[in-house]
Symmetry: C2
Subunit: 141 residues, 2 copies
Amino acid sequence: MTDTPSPLVTDPAARARILAAVRFDMRGLVPAIAQQHDTGEVLMMAWMNEAALDETLATGRACYYSRSRGGLWRKGETSGQHQEVRDLRLDCDGDTILLLVHQHGVACHTGRRSCFYLAPREGELSEIMAPLISPERLYGA
Amino acid sequence: MTDTPSPLVTDPAARARILAAVRFDMRGLVPAIAQQHDTGEVLMMAWMNEAALDETLATGRACYYSRSRGGLWRKGETSGQHQEVRDLRLDCDGDTILLLVHQHGVACHTGRRSCFYLAPREGELSEIMAPLISPERLYGA
């Protein structure tokens, strides 16, 4: 397992053609699902704008668009929990992206491996997954 | 493998509590990812409103909201390719749903098992999955 991701598409013109096939929404965003490439675990869903998708394709490292911060979100830049992108899929109508990643550490800001840790159990939403690391260790006190 | 799905949450009051935990967007919608429960294959991403999620929890059969038709979309109602929902997850910030389903037949309207069949190969988006059934057989000529 290498720490240095490979770019998915090195040629900027090729990246531009791929970006042109994506149907970004009115805000200029497209949902991107991240899935661990070998186990199939769905880790998180976030958003990308054109620049985030272009950077992801160019670097092989997942870059999203943070709606709260209004800027690029290089996953793991603060927490160290980055995602190497092994492959990328676009869906039939071009409006959703699936990233097949190698997740270093945990995907969720709560310290859980996946963000999808709530499930109905006996009629209540229950936490079915424990944190692997404390948010304090991820982001500092 | 049974053809009759089990409801996930039978009690309407419990369903209302779960719905209250979901952060629907300004349009009243939340993205829902469908994943084959045993293989981990990500099949599709669609949208749910409150009524669609309530029906999904009550029936154990995936019901989405069709943005193009502006109404409930009971997956498989026309095509027969329905989804038994085996479990449901909500993510950390309550704004994305993950359905673990048993997909009967194919998820994609193109006749492919999954909607995520386009991938960059040598700088071009290529179809990496073949249809298993023709759209004509799914929807009639």
